[in-house]
């Protein structure tokens, strides 16, 4: 088997794994959330937001999988379903919400109450703006800048509060965004790596900070 054949096979495997494992991870997070609610009587909002991020991510990956591996491409054009830099697509709706909720989690952990919904207002505004005017480029700036900010602040928050959730999300985001930016064989391997990390994270095994420091 040549390297190219191996890469193609890995790409297909990634597609299937993403579409199957990501929704399972999301369900796992929500099961944990429900169990925690039953035990403590309170909703763990950080976990709930992480669950929403994973749900948005699953949405993106399912559409991508449907387009690449099923006859959905007979119904929709590529621009409507997969990642597009020039127009709206099902994938991009999930991507913009993923970035927005990534920023929401940063605001929530840092207790900036007045900023909790700002990323969602921005995304909502951009959707309306696109529907009204057809201008889309603004969204791409938001996705790239927002993702970068989310990663940096999540790393900062993770180390500051010794919070496993923040740091895990930061690493997950970093790997996921790098897939969008890096093409070729490295991109394929990065794709596999974020699936593996996602499984580790959603199972609750990722715990670099044993002691949780509360401020």
């Amino acid at each position: 088997m040549s390297f190219e054949e191996f890469r193609a096979l890995l790409g297909i495997t990634n597609n299937y794994l993403e579409a199957i494992l990501m929704p399972i991870m999301t369900i796992l997070i929500f099961i944990k959330l429900r169990r925690e609610k039953r035990e403590t009587g309170e909703i763990n909002y950080v976990r709930a937001i992480i669950g929403v991020v994973f749900a948005c991510f699953s949405w993106m990956l399912i559409w991508e999988f449907l387009y690449n591996r099923t006859p959905v491409q007979m119904l929709f054009t590529e621009n409507i379903v997969t990642f597009s830099e020039t127009s709206w697509s099902f994938y991009n709706i999930g991507l913009s919400l993923t970035v927005a909720f990534g920023l929401v989690i940063v605001m929530y952990i840092n207790r900036r109450e007045s900023l909790y919904y700002v990323p969602l207002f921005v995304v909502g505004g951009m959707w309306l703006y696109y529907i009204a005017t057809g201008y889309y480029e603004m969204m791409m700036y938001f996705i790239y800048i927002g993702a970068l900010m989310a990663i940096l602040f999540l790393i900062y928050t993770g180390f500051r509060y010794k919070d496993n959730g923040s740091l895990g999300m930061a690493i997950f985001f970093l790997l996921a965004v790098s897939v969008l930016l890096i093409d070729g064989p490295i991109g394929t391997f990065m794709n596999s790596s974020y699936i593996i990390f996602g499984v580790i994270f959603s199972l609750g095994v990722f715990k670099p900070f044993k002691e949780v420091v509360k401020e």
């Binding site: 505004g125 009204a132 005017t133």
Partner: protein, 212 residues
């Protein structure tokens, strides 16, 4: 010519009432340093500047400048007035999570006007900022028997309607709106209309017990 003079005089009355209202709010702000009052002073300042630009327009001295495709001078004051209406409604309601909503939406409205001269966002934002603050402030005003908030709600509705009516009728309705706001801020409504019966009874009891 008579039309111009009438319009200018009436707009002058609006400015006079705006100053009186601003003075009444400033007096309250000086005593309690409440941020809502500070916001209202800025809001009233924008209303006054809006009236001044209208006088200039009547006299043919309007500053005609457009940024981008269609962002004009009256849009600036329009967006600021609309934004402030939302801002102090959320502030009074203490909806901290919505504090930045007016700012974010204002940016989109301004971008739409600069880039495409897209007026519908501006109109939609203006409509929302008339009816949502009206409903919320009216509810708070009646519930807490607060004359300022109650009359502010009525003012927002009447002023919102007036800004959409051109000519003499529009100015007269704005004068009515300013009278309403002045009645609220000067304490007239608290004193004579929204009387808190429990509070009045409590004061009367204190007064009687003092005499006894």
């Amino acid at each position: 010519m008579i039309d111009v003079i009438t319009n200018v005089v009436l707009e002058g009355i609006v400015i006079f009432l705006t100053i009186l209202t601003g003075k009444a709010i400033f007096k309250v702000w000086k005593s309690n340093k409440n941020r809502v009052n500070a916001m209202m002073i800025i809001y009233i300042l924008f209303l006054a500047i809006g009236s001044i630009t209208r006088i200039q327009e009547f006299m043919g001295l309007s500053i005609d400048f457009t940024i981008g495709a269609g962002f004009q001078i009256y849009h600036i004051f329009g967006i600021l007035i609309i934004g402030f209406q939302f801002a102090f409604t959320f502030y009074i309601k203490e909806w901290k999570r919505f504090y930045y909503f007016p700012l974010v939406m204002s940016i989109f409205v301004a971008t739409g006007l600069i880039q495409y001269d897209f007026q519908y966002f501006f109109i939609a934002f203006a409509l929302l900022s008339t009816f949502i603050p009206f409903a919320l402030l009216l509810y708070i005003g009646i519930k807490n028997r607060n004359g300022v908030v109650f009359m502010l709600a009525v003012f927002i509705l009447v002023n919102g309607i007036a800004l959409n009516i051109r000519g003499l009728v529009g100015i007269i309705i704005r004068i009515v709106a300013m009278v309403i706001l002045f009645a609220g801020t000067s304490g007239f409504v608290d004193k004579y209309l929204l009387i808190d019966k429990k509070e009045k009874l409590r004061l009367q009891n204190v007064w009687i017990s003092k005499i006894m």
